[in-house]
């Protein structure tokens, strides 16, 4: 009889402790809004003419890219990682807003993610969702996903149809185009059961053609395999930033 009592009280205490632990590590939602820009203006497909660093005019008819494996570092320096990929497509507004449920509650000051598809996930066979080959982001000439597609036109282009065609991908050395993006947040974001701040990430298309490798469209208007791919990848590595307040 006595023994049973002890057992029950132990059980209750254990349950309470477990519940408290659960409360401490509550879950929230990680929400990220992607916004595509060209320099300081929102990207518009087709109609608007932009200029690269060499003054060559161009427009953009397609802009899409894979991001994934989002991680957040909290203000105490601890990192929490998620798995999975999202295809951000300028043409589909819904694709620009992503959210990941069950993210540990906390205050975070750094966002880390991958542009591209890791080699493991690049070699996993037929997949659905963001990685379904129907999304047109799978290379058939060579196995693997295209990480980023930018298409457009420029009178400076050396192709007969004045096309710009930048299909960047590749996960094997020495043509590895996977880039890890690390963005310190200007203000720590809170994630919790009640409140979930939205992180706004901006991608600037013009970076594809500026630094560290300026692109002259009369010399390079098409990248569709390993040739010159890492040149552009080094440029897109610097394409992202956290939005200023009020944007």
């Amino acid at each position: 009889m006595m023994k049973e009592h002890v057992f029950y009280s132990l059980f209750v205490i254990a349950a309470l402790v477990a519940a408290m632990a659960f409360m401490v590590t509550g879950k929230g939602k990680l929400s990220i809004q992607f916004q595509n820009y060209v320099e300081d203006k929102s990207l518009r497909l087709d109609s608007v003419s932009y200029k690269n660093v060499l003054g060559q005019p161009y427009n953009v008819t397609m802009f899409k890219y894979y991001v994934g494996n989002f991680r957040l570092k909290n203000i105490r320096g601890r990192e929490y990682a998620t798995k999975g990929y999202f295809l951000i497509n300028q043409e589909e507004k819904n694709s620009m807003q992503i959210s990941i449920d069950n993210f540990p509650e906390g205050e975070y000051d750094t966002l880390i993610f991958t542009l591209g598809i890791d080699s493991m996930d690049n070699c996993s066979g037929a997949q659905s969702g963001a990685l379904d080959p129907v999304n047109g982001m799978f290379w058939a000439w060579n196995t693997g996903y295209v990480f980023l597609k930018m298409e457009g036109k420029s009178p400076a282009s050396n192709s007969t149809a004045r096309q710009l065609e930048f299909h960047i991908g590749g996960y094997k050395e020495p043509n590895n185009c996977i880039r890890v993006i690390r963005l310190p947040l200007k203000h720590a974001v809170k994630i919790g059961e009640k409140k979930n701040d939205i992180i706004k990430v901006q991608a600037d298309v013009s970076h594809l053609f500026s630094a560290p490798n300026p692109v002259d469209f009369s010399k390079l208007s098409s990248v569709v395999d390993y040739k010159n791919a890492s040149t552009i990848a080094d440029n897109y590595a610097t394409m992202f930033k956290i939005a200023d307040e009020g944007k």
């Binding site: 690049n122 070699c123 066979g125 000439w141 693997g144």
Partner: protein
Amino acid sequence: MKKRIIYFVLFPGFFILLLAGFAGDNNYFAITAKDVEFHIPKGFPQPVYDFKNNTPTPAGFVLGRKLFYDPILSKDSSISCGFCHQRIAAFAHIDHALSHGINGLIGKRNVPPLENLVWSSSFMWDGRINHLEMQPLSPISNPIEMNETIRNIIKKLQRNKEYAGMFKAAFKDSVVNSRNILRALAQFTGLMISANSRYDKFMSGEDTLSPSEYKGLQLFRDKCGQCHKEPLFTDNTFRNTGLAMDTNLHDSGVAATNGQMLDMMKFKVPTLRNIEMTYPYMHDGRFRNLKQVLDHYTQKFTKESHADPILVEGIQLTEEDKSNIIDFLKTLTDQTFLHDRRFADPSGHY
């Protein structure tokens, strides 16, 4: 009362058995659960492709077979996988040096056999495809092969009643999507296993080799086995065999996929199983017969050719050695595989 129940159960049961007897036994194309069991043949290593994530079922296999032989996968419904990959040639293409595709367009490579694919870590002569399930996307979208998109294939299949039923039977989620198409094809091509040649029977003690075949085997192990490694007859690496680049095709092999000079003219070490049936030979089909292949290997190559160190000095073979090796290579012909009814085309086109 009891008796009535017994009749009630027995009678229809008997009837069903009778029907099954008629339909099952005579049906050359019927696929049973036993037909799709995967066993690692004696002496073979663990496969690279993991069937655990895509366990073959009769319905999945039958769907894969139908897709493989259906020209619906090409833009104008003219070309199927089976058009290029012929069963009688171990799914290579007899007598064409280079593949023929849509509108009679000629490709730049020789059609390889499809056999023991689940032991391959990469596909195509240059290894550019890394997964068996993703492989069909290449011929499907190639403008000179099938010239179609996976998106459009899904639309065509969704409109087709027979396919809708087959996807339902084959996959829990019943959907016609790229994943199920690719997995059904992998169930079919993945089970194309050749491991019952006279060589295999010799290895397991069920058969003997003639003196010249046996001499050929010993020469083969000494001179060729490092690359064409038993029991798969490939070590899954890429090597330069000293072939000069064809001046029309400009095919530099692995180097064309990654720009690395070191990979110039490197091609996959192909399996030699059923080699008797898969002529002509090499990535561009430049050799009509095995004798020409062996004559090639006995040459000395220049340093500039970057031929593999094993080959650069030329392999020393007498004419008799060559004919012994050829005799041995013919013991790799697997009649069971070449005539396996499971892989025959039920529509009878091929």
